[in-house]
């Protein structure tokens, strides 16, 4: 039986745990320190066990009294600061992480009043935990930051489990406001994948339902209501979440005016939040099936551009809706609406390519991959068409998931944005032949014949297009890397143009010397970037195509984490007149703190959906690779020495600290 199996693995750990605990508790004050380390090791093993938290909880008081915290900063819980917990939980030393976990469990015990602590009232403990949860929502939400992913520690899974356990125990009240803000912040970036956001909204809904009296009609309440209603009851007829069948019955009985109101209500909720309710999908299917397709454009919330597109390609769009919009894939509605708004259907090859996609028969391999990632509720073909709609509608909404494949995700986004025809061709290659052929300096590379690249498995936590294409792209990218390995320069000089497209500038600028890793002619690099990209210095020339660039990612302390691929989308003045770089980060959440005050903004500074942005100088200070088209600009304006020094200092304080 399962339980006895769990006992079998848990009991030996508990035996050691109890032995070490007795050693620790009987140790004299002088000897405590010598037993704390081994105690933390056994705690670590318990935390990693699926039932470990339940086993530790009843022992928390004993651990505390035995002296697990003696001589550490955690000895006086009332002086601990919630803001520091998140960082500690990400530390490399697993003993420190384990100690922080025990500390959190002690707070939990105090909050539940199963344990009392001098100087720490239960209310204070509750408040402390609420702040910790709010500050570590990314872990609860399952959004993976680049820094966290690169440094994934052995206790990460255990810590996530612990935080969820605390969330379930203390409830969401108090953190709800922060939670709601966070969900809005993520949704404003219009990610393609919203499952983790949806599950958080569900949590919020449950919490608010349970504790209705605890909430006033505050801003939080309204913000949360909007999110919940967008998912579960966006319109008059679906207000109280009646279930799809009842909703369809109501639609069947509704008059024209009511249907019209439903259509606009659905569209408003969708464009407001970026979330599509399953009722929305049901509504669209109903109007198509009942021959009232004149309501489709209102239900998609189209502007005159989108409406014109829709009218030109009505048969195609209706067919796309019919295939892609199902319960569970309703999010494709937003993709279709935004795709129509982009006007890409007017480009001659797009509509026929989409017809090809609609008629495509997927290989068993593709089908298996899609089913493994998304289950069999919708057919693999429906999933894929829905995925294509979302990617074409939200090219900057794609994320790499928890996979080391930022290059592939960036390429998909760039094609969706700039060359959708090519993207659909790649996809057709993969779905009909299980292979993608690309050329590198004239030589064909066939993904079916290449060894695995950076990702060892098909990514399961990505969007449908990524699930099909990333394994191929990743192999090709890795092979290109092997082909240029001996050239003694950064491989992206050659790979970026060959992998992404002809528009990637062939002039390559890099800030570091590949052999030594030290900065190389850095001042000139900074000046070159200004004259290539900054309209103030390059004769007011805008960025024409999205350009790949390399970023030295730093964490919130400014410490170097790793190299990361992004694309520069625009460089423009923001509302306050500052020059900003607007870029796409294939990471799942672009809003990151890169340390020393460099906080990547995702809205409020002129960003379009999915864009991240930084002031030009701050961005430049984290840049290490960019491409240039090699065209002489009309009039170059020299960069002031002050500007160069400022940027140089920002780099030297952070990722370039040891690279002089």
């Amino acid at each position: 039986m399962t339980t006895s199996l769990q006992d079998e693995t848990l009991n030996p750990i508990l035996r050691s745990f109890d032995h070490v605990l007795s050693q620790l508790s009987t140790a004299s004050s002088a000897g405590k320190a010598t037993y704390q380390g081994r105690m933390l090791d056994t705690i670590k093993r318990l935390l990693k066990h699926p039932h470990g938290i339940a086993a530790i909880e009843p022992r928390i008081r004993e651990l505390d009294q035995a002296g697990i915290f003696d001589g550490t900063d955690w000895a006086v819980p009332s002086s601990l600061v919630p803001g520091m917990v998140g960082n500690t939980l990400r530390m490399a030393d697993s003993r420190t992480v384990a100690l922080e976990c025990v500390s959190l469990l002690r707070f939990l015990a105090v909050a539940r009043e199963t344990q009392s602590q001098p100087g720490l009232p239960a209310e204070h403990a509750r408040h402390f935990l609420a702040q910790v949860l709010a500050l570590n929502l990314d872990r609860i939400l399952g959004a993976h930051h680049e820094a966290a992913r690169v440094k994934a520690g052995e206790l990460d899974g255990a810590v996530d489990r612990l935080l969820k356990h605390i969330l379930a125990s203390v409830g969401t009240e108090g953190i709800l406001g922060q939670l709601v803000d966070e969900v809005w912040r993520i949704l404003r970036q219009r990610p393609i994948q919203v499952d983790h956001v949806k599950s958080m909204i569900l949590q919020i809904a449950l919490a608010m339902n349970e504790q209705q009296q605890g909430f006033s009609a505050s801003d939080t309440r309204l913000g949360a209501d909007r999110l919940i209603s967008a998912l579960f009851g966006p319109t008059q007829l679906s207000r109280e979440d009646p279930g799809l069948q009842t909703y369809r019955d109501r639609l069947g009985a509704a008059d024209t005016g009511t249907l019209q109101a439903e259509a606009t209500g659905m569209a408003r909720a969708m464009h407001d939040t970026g979330l599509v309710s399953d009722y929305h999908g049901a509504f669209l299917r109903f109007v198509l099936e009942s021959g009232q397709s004149y309501l489709v454009s209102d239900a998609l919330g189209l502007s005159s551009t989108g409406l014109d597109s829709f009218r030109c390609y009505q048969a195609l769009v209706q067919q796309l809706i019919d295939v892609a919009v199902r319960p569970g894939t309703a999010q494709a509605v937003l993709g279709i609406a935004l795709m129509l708004e982009r006007g890409i259907l007017y480009s001659p090859p797009i509509a026929p390519s989409l017809w090809r996609l609609l008629g495509a028969r997927l290989t068993p391999n593709c089908e298996a991959g899609l089913i493994a990632a998304f289950g069999a509720d919708a057919t693999p073909h429906q999933r894929l068409v829905a995925g294509v709609m979302m990617l074409l509608g939200q090219p900057l909404g794609i994320g790499q998931g928890n996979n080391p494949t930022c290059q592939s995700a960036r390429a998909l986004s760039m094609w969706a944005l700039n060359d959708p025809d090519y993207l659909l061709w790649q996809l057709a290659q993969a779905t009909s032949n299980d292979r993608v052929i690309m050329h590198f300096e004239g030589q064909p590379l066939d993904s079916a014949l290449l060894p695995a690249g950076l990702a060892l498995h098909t990514p399961l936590d990505a969007d449908p297009v990524s699930v099909v294409l990333v394994p191929h792209l990743d192999r090709i990218y890795a092979e290109m890397g092997r082909m240029v390995a001996g050239r003694g320069e950064d491989p992206h000089r050659w790979i970026n143009p060959e992998l992404h497209g002809w528009w990637v500038g062939r002039e390559f600028h890099i800030a570091v010397d590949i052999a030594t890793g030290k900065l190389h002619e850095y001042d000139q690099f900074i000046r070159d970037f200004h004259t290539s990209y900054n309209p103030m210095h390059n004769g007011n020339e805008p960025v024409i195509h999205p350009q790949p660039a390399g970023i030295a990612v730093t964490d919130s302390q400014g410490t170097f984490v790793g190299w990361h691929a992004i694309s520069i989308i625009r460089v423009a003045l923001d509302q306050s007149g500052g020059m900003r770089v607007y870029f796409f980060n294939p990471n799942n959440d672009s809003g990151q703190d890169w340390g020393h005050g460099i906080i990547v903004s995702t809205h409020g500074n002129g960003e379009r959906l999915g864009e991240a942005s930084l002031p030009f100088a701050q961005f430049t200070s984290r840049l290490y690779i960019f491409h240039d088209d090699g065209l002489k600009t009309a009039s170059e304006v020299p960069v002031s020495d002050d500007e160069v020094v400022t940027i140089r200092e920002l780099a030297l304080q952070s990722w370039a600290r040891n690279r002089l």
Binding site: E8, S16, S28
Partner: protein, 408 residues
């Protein structure tokens, strides 16, 4: 806090060990720690009775420390580390007015003298010789292998090269060829050379009082320098009577009235015991910890009882359990050496961590990424502890650890 017995005197501990201090804090004897000055702050902070002393060289100040300790009411000094063994001898010879104790401690500190004394007393030892330089080593290697009737080109039987006065495996090399000899640095001489004995190596921990063995533990080595566990397997424990005889011989030959010894032996296929060496201090590889886990008694407190002239036989009888029979299980540990040349982090293999016998480890994260080349047996980077009921499973488990990477 533990109340102290005012009828008993003070015990002086030579050397700094938090485990030992912890044991004494929980014991009824009054004590004082004699250790280098760097430990003084910690001692003051935790109210540990402390005398700061520099053990670098035994010199004429040994009388000064003896007088000082006598003034404090100390009855006996107990050495914790190899370097403090002759200090304890010197101090105890003053405290107990018995000059023989100093000479005895010198025997324990010099591997060559120790072997000769054992041989003179009729204890079986392998062939051994002192080496002053490299040529001595080559000659010994040749002579041993000639004796074994090896022809030129046959693989040599190895010989062992041991520093005179280092603890355990420090300075211990296995020599198979003249190339190995060339690898020995000049400053490692003089040293002791021994023939290799094919057999089962094990160690004994014996607490002695009034020339009588109070408790005898057999520690079974799985692989010398890597792993050990207690109590031993039944296959080794069946020699217990013979081993006891050997220890009694040691007590006679080395004239040991009291204290704690830690000898190493070989038993060959025909059951003959060969004496390897003996130390008059707690063993490395934390066998004390293993005994505490297996039997539940504190080996440091046992150490105090075996040295303290005021300890009574009743006290000792009440303290010690019955060997093997009273053990709760078998406790073992494995000494980790990095297997790679460059390491960046400590990573406990899941095979180890998920084993039900695994208890905890005392491995530190690497301080630097480059692993210094292991000369001789070297020092391990820390110990991994195991505990379980089945000695054979434990033995195989310890053996299996040798194939795992703890530093990657």
């Amino acid at each position: 806090m533990q109340t102290k017995d005012p009828q008993k005197g003070y015990i002086a501990i030579l050397g700094w060990s938090l485990r030992c201090i912890d044991a004494l804090e929980k014991f009824d004897r009054r004590y004082v720690i004699v250790a280098p000055q760097w430990a003084e702050d910690y001692a003051t902070q935790h109210n540990i009775p402390f005398v700061s002393w520099d053990f670098e060289r035994l010199n004429d100040r040994s009388f000064e420390i003896s007088a000082k300790l006598r003034e404090m009411g100390v009855d006996v000094a107990i050495p914790l580390f190899e370097e403090t063994v002759e200090w304890a001898g010197a101090i105890n010879s003053v405290l107990m007015d018995n000059p023989r104790l100093l000479g005895q401690s010198m025997l324990f500190r010099d591997k060559s003298l120790m072997k000769r004394r054992a041989q003179l007393g009729g204890i079986r030892v392998g062939i051994f010789e002192e080496a002053m330089d490299h040529t001595d080593v080559i000659r010994f290697l040749k002579r041993v292998n000639q004796t074994l009737l090896k022809l030129d080109g046959d693989p040599n039987d190895p010989i062992h090269f041991k520093a005179f006065d280092k603890a355990g495996c420090l300075g211990h090399r296995v020599i198979r060829s003249p190339d190995d000899v060339a690898a020995i640095a000049d400053d490692e001489f003089p040293a002791l050379l021994e023939s290799h004995l094919d057999g089962w190596e094990f160690a004994v921990e014996a607490w002695i009082k009034d020339r009588k063995i109070q408790f005898l533990n057999i520690s079974e080595y799985v692989t010398l320098g890597y792993s050990v566990f207690v109590p031993a397997t039944p296959e080794l424990e069946k020699y217990r009577a013979k081993i006891t005889e050997q220890i009694e011989k040691l007590i006679e030959v080395f004239d040991i009235d009291f204290g704690f010894i830690h000898p190493e032996y070989f038993v060959t296929n025909d059951g003959t015991m060969y004496f390897g060496e003996v130390a008059y201090r707690p063993p490395g590889f934390n066998a004390f910890e293993l005994m505490e886990r297996a039997y539940g008694f504190n080996a440091y407190q046992a150490l105090v009882l075996s040295f303290d002239p005021k300890a009574t036989q009743e006290e000792l009888d009440a303290f010690f359990p019955t060997p093997v029979k009273d053990a709760l299980g078998h406790a073992g540990c494995f000494g980790v050496y990095p297997r790679r040349r460059v390491v960046s982090e400590l990573s406990i293999p899941s095979e180890t961590e998920d084993d039900p016998y695994f208890e905890f480890h005392e491995l530190a994260p690497p301080m630097e990424s480059k692993v210094t080349k292991r000369t001789a047996f070297g020092t391990h980077w820390g110990l991994v502890y195991f505990f379980g009921e089945d000695p054979h499973r434990l033995r195989d488990l310890l053996k299996a650890q040798e194939e795992l990477d703890f530093y990657v």
